[in-house]
Symmetry: C3
Subunit: 160 residues, 3 copies
């Protein structure tokens, strides 16, 4: 117990979001926002498919993956039916609303208003032929992996 008191508290987190599904994006948002609410410095770095969460036209249309995830408790062939992803997505969104977990766009706004930083990964931006105009205006900058490490001084890096 005394040992735990001497331990260095978490002072900064750099959360990487790399997956584009609804259940792939939320854990990172929740980890980053939960940090801010504790007074911990926090930044979000979106890369690969995770960038969908900051692309203006996509961020409020993310879907739940209904195949490839036994946690859904759904037979694979059923999960592959055209309407199932939309159905699971609607269900998860309803549950999150009940818990006051906001939709992605509002969540980013809340995080940013609380002093959180939001970055897109330059290599991914180039790979998917995107430009600054494709992103939410909340994105502070498009940065390289090297710059990400510089900004992560003193931080715990959390890859989601």
């Amino acid at each position: 117990m005394t040992e735990e008191k001497k331990a260095q508290p978490i002072e900064r987190v750099s959360v990487i979001v790399s997956k584009g599904s609804l259940e792939g994006v939320y854990p990172g948002l929740i980890m980053a926002n939960g940090a801010r609410m504790e007074g911990i410095e926090a930044s979000l770095f979106f890369t690969f498919f995770g960038m969908d969460a900051i692309i203006r036209k996509r961020l409020d249309h993310l879907k739940v993956a209904t195949v490839g995830n036994p946690g859904m408790h759904m037979p694979t062939l059923l999960g592959a039916l055209p309407g199932m992803s939309a159905f699971a997505t609607a269900m998860m969104k309803r549950e999150m609303k009940r818990l006051d977990i906001p939709p992605v766009g509002e969540f980013l706004q809340m995080f940013h208003d609380a002093g959180g930083e939001i970055y897109a990964c330059k290599a991914s931006v180039d790979m998917f032929h995107l430009g600054k105009e494709d992103f939410s205006p909340l994105v502070d900058d498009i940065i390289t992996v090297g710059e990400f490490y510089e900004k992560s001084a003193g931080a715990q890096i959390i890859f989601t």
Copy 2:
């Protein structure tokens, strides 16, 4: 070499388990348990679908995902056949038994007996309408993301 000797050894890890498939849960269990066996303080924090690993009725019935994972080296349509996940699951369990890697329930017990802490994520518990009675009695507490950060003072956070 001398530099490496001066480097701060890992003294505590906080391992987050977020995926519900068998191959999604084991890496986190192995990382956390491997830490304890080295004398490193360790806690497990189960969130989203990863909670299946601590839900009493589910923890010994986790399955391998046979689609959405090219690492399985199985054509997608073959992987989607009803029996394939059960087949791959049986194979992985047999291999793990051969290596003395215990089933999930025993693994949690071994980790807990060795002083490891086990937590469930409050937001996920609420989202999936669960209560304390649904969980393995080894779960020490249901905690918020903020409490997770407090308990992670001095720790490496590992999100799996």
Copy 3:
């Protein structure tokens, strides 16, 4: 700002690669290599399906997963068609070539030449019945989770 200057810069990263698809392997390679290019010490630790990236016969034949990833923006049943994974893989490889991101084999060579360390996870090696001869000669050693923690003294652990 002055606070940020006092923060401890990232001096070492231990990147774990646990997924076998092309989009599962590259984030870890990019994080580890990006660290080396910034003068940060870096090691790669391949475990579970991520080992495909260092298995001699597989490392240049990794594929993109076209199901189970809504980020692909492809209907599940379409993604399950036999040719779709090969098609998405060819597209991603072309984009990466355009950005001078090398194929997996060359990427590992570049990382290793720059002083990066490459390890395979002993438990996974045993589980999949592999031997040293199955791996790229760039693999420095097959190590246990305990040894991984020892080598990670002073490092940020990044699980991908």
